[in-house]
Point group: C2
Chain length 332, copies 2
DNA sequence: TGGAGCGTTTAAATCGTTTAAATGGCGGCG
DNA sequence: CGCCGCCATTTAAACGATTTAAACGCTCCA
C-alpha cells in the first residue's frame, strides 16, 4: 500500500501539499496539483482509513441497525441504503438486533467505538438513554417512525395511516362487516401506529365489528393469530401489520379449508417481493423500500455533512396494492 | 471517550502497561493487573479501533461479500456469520455485488482499504487476479465452491451432488421419464456444479429424457425457463438450481393451468424459509444456512488467527426435503 | 534595491495505540 | 560484597494521515 509520503516524494512536494490537493482543503497551484494527482494515480494511492479516522476522530463508516435481516423487508432497504452510501464514499456497517433492546445497545456501543459519524435505525427498540448518549457524542441518527426530531436527530415517518386506511376502506367497500387486525409487538412504535390507524379507519363506518390481536411479525405468529381471530368471531376480512403475518394467515385459512378470498379476505403490509408470488397473490400495502433506503441515507448524510443543521422529518407514502386475496365477504 | 492514557493515569502506571494488561501480551504483576483492570472498567474504556488498526496494520472488521442480499438465501447465512464474528470480537462488513465482477472488484478494493484481515466470498464472481492480489496482500479469504485451497485461502464445498442426486432419484422413483433442469448463470461455479450433478444423476437411469436451460437465479427467470421447458418437450419433473426459480416455475405452471404436483413435479434448491410456505409447499434440497454461516466464519477465523496454517477444505452436506410439489407423473 | 503583502509550501504537532529497547530493583551466586 | 540475570515496568519510536503556524518565494511598488 502506497502512503501519502511516497506520493509526496514522487510528486516532489511535502505530504501536507498532497493532503491539501486530495482533500481540496486549501488552494494549491494548478501545476503542483496536477503533479500530485498524477503521482497519486500512478501509485494507486488510497488514504489509509485508519490513520484518517484517528486524526479526524470519525470514521467513514455509517451504521445501519436493523431488527431482523432475515425478514425480507429489510434486505431491500439495506441494499438501496448501502448503494447510496457507497456513492457518497461511505461504507455501511449493518447490525442485526433480533428486536432485542440489549443487543441494540451493544450494537450502538460497537458503532460508537468505530467512531461512526452517524447511524440509521430501522428498529424502534432503541432505549431512550441510548438515543441520548448517541446525540451527546455528536453522532447523527435517523430513526424510522420515532416521530421526534432534534439536534442531530432526523426521522423518517412512514405514512402508515394512509395505506391502512385504504386497506380498511377497500374491505368496507367490498361489504365486510367483521374485521380482524393482526398487529406487531406493542413495544415497537411502528406496530402501534399501524394498529392505531386500523382502529381509526374501522371506526369511521358504523356497524362494523372489530377485533385486534397483537403478534410478533413472524409467519408463525400470523398463523396463530389468524386462528384465534377466526375462533373468537368469524372475521371475513383480516388486515395484518406485515406481509409475513399475512402469509401466515393465508396458511391458517388454507389449513382450515377456508378459501381465500372467497370466504376470507386478507391484506398484508410491506409488499415484500414474495407478496406477489403467494397463491393467490397477496393484496397488501406497499412501502417503497428502495425509496426508503435512499431517503434514510440522504437524511443521515445531511445530518453528517452539516452537523449544525437541525434534524428534519421526512415523509413516505404507503399505498394499497390490490391483488387476489380480497373479495366481497361470503353471503350468509 | 476515555483513552489509554487516562486509564494509565488512574491506575498509576504507564500506558504500555495498560496495553500489556488489556492484550495479555506480556506478564504483569497480578496486583498491577487488577489496578489497571479496575481503572479501565471504571472509565468504561474501550480501545480506539482506528488507532489500533493504524499501528497493527489490520482492522477488526472482516468482509462478507454476497452477490444479492435481496435473495433470501443470503441474509440468513449473513446473520449467523455475523453472530459468530461478533462473538470473536470482529465486526462484519457486508458488501453486495449484484453478481457483478466489477462491483466485486470494487468491494474488494474497499475491504483492502479498510485493512480487513480477511474476507469471505459467497459469490463466485471473483476475478482471478482479485483473488491473487488478496492473497498477496496477506488477506485471508474463504470462498464458497471455489474448490481450491492454498496459503491463506480456504474453501467451503457444498455437496450439491448429494442433494441433487437425491432430488433426481426421488423423481425417477416416482416414475418420471422427462426431466427438466433450470440452471443458474454459467459464469458461476456453484451453478455449474449443480447442473453437472443433475446431468450425472439423470444419466444413471436409462431411457430418461433430459433438457437443461440456463437462467439467472431469479423468480422471473424461473418462470420463463419453465415456460420454455414446457414448450420444448413436455417435462413432467423439473429441478431448479434455486428456490426462487422453483417458485417461478410453480407460477408458470399455475398460469398455464398445469397442476402441481398432479401434472408437473417441481423441486427447488436452498430451502429458503419461503419454500415451506408456498402453495403447495415446495419440495427442495436443503442447505443448512445457519451452519454454513458459522462454518464460513470459523474457516476465516482460523485463517486469520494463524496466518501460517494452510488453507483447508470444509464440506457441507445438502439433503432433500420432500414436501408437496412432487408426485408421480400423470399417466397418459 | 528593499520591503510589504500575498499566495503557496513546509515543518511539526497531533490523534491513540502497539511494541522494541531501555531501565531499575532485587535475589542468588560466586 | 559485588556482579549477573531476571522481572516488571517505563520510555520512546513508530503507524499514516490532518492541520496549525511558520517559512518561503514572488510580485509589485516606493
Amino acid at each position: 500500500m502506497a502512503t501519502i509520503r511516497e506520493v509526496a516524494v514522487k510528486a516532489g512536494v511535502s505530504i501536507a501539499t498532497v493532503s491539501y490537493v486530495l482533500n481540496g482543503s486549501r488552494r494549491v497551484r494548478p501545476q503542483t496539483e496536477q503533479r500530485v494527482l498524477w503521482a497519486a494515480r500512478e501509485l494507486g494511492y488510497a488514504p489509509n482509513s485508519a490513520a484518517r479516522s484517528l486524526v479526524i476522530g470519525r470514521s467513514s463508516i455509517v451504521g445501519l441497525v436493523v431488527p431482523d435481516i432475515g425478514n425480507p423487508f429489510f434486505p431491500e432497504i439495506t441494499k438501496s441504503f448501502q448503494e447510496s452510501a457507497a456513492m457518497a464514499g461511505l461504507e455501511t456497517m449493518v447490525m442485526n438486533t433480533n428486536y432485542d433492546v440489549e443487543r441494540t445497545r451493544n450494537a450502538v456501543d460497537r458503532l460508537v467505538n468505530l467512531q461512526v459519524p452517524g447511524a440509521a435505525f430501522l428498529t424502534s427498540q432503541v432505549a431512550r438513554e441510548v438515543r441520548e448518549s448517541l446525540a451527546g457524542k455528536g453522532v447523527g441518527a435517523v430513526y424510522l417512525d420515532h416521530g421526534v426530531t432534534a439536534a442531530r436527530i432526523s426521522n423518517i415517518a412512514l405514512d402508515y395511516a394512509h395505506g391502512i386506511r385504504a386497506a380498511v376502506n377497500h374491505l368496507l367497500e367490498l361489504g365486510h362487516k367483521r374485521l380482524g387486525f393482526i398487529g406487531g409487538p406493542m413495544h415497537g412504535t411502528s406496530a402501534q401506529h399501524r394498529k392505531q390507524a386500523f382502529l381509526e379507519a374501522a371506526a369511521t363506518e358504523p356497524g362494523v365489528e372489530v377485533r385486534v390481536i397483537d403478534s410478533d411479525f413472524s409467519i408463525q405468529g400470523g398463523y396463530f393469530s389468524c386462528s384465534k381471530l377466526l375462533n373468537v368471531f368469524s372475521a371475513t376480512g383480516i388486515v395484518a401489520a406485515n406481509d409475513l403475518m399475512g402469509i401466515g394467515a393465508m396458511h391458517c385459512a388454507y389449513d382450515r379449508q377456508i378459501s381465500v378470498p372467497g370466504q376470507l379476505s386478507i391484506i398484508g403490509f410491506d409488499d415484500i417481493t414474495f407478496a406477489q408470488f403467494t397463491q393467490p397473490a397477496l393484496t397488501t400495502v406497499s412501502v417503497p423500500r428502495v425509496e426508503v433506503g435512499r431517503l434514510v441515507f440522504q437524511a443521515l448524510h445531511a445530518l453528517i455533512s452539516d452537523p449544525a443543521q437541525a434534524g428534519k422529518e421526512y415523509d413516505v407514502k404507503t399505498t394499497l396494492i390490490v391483488r387476489q386475496t380480497t373479495a366481497p365477504p361470503p353471503k350468509t
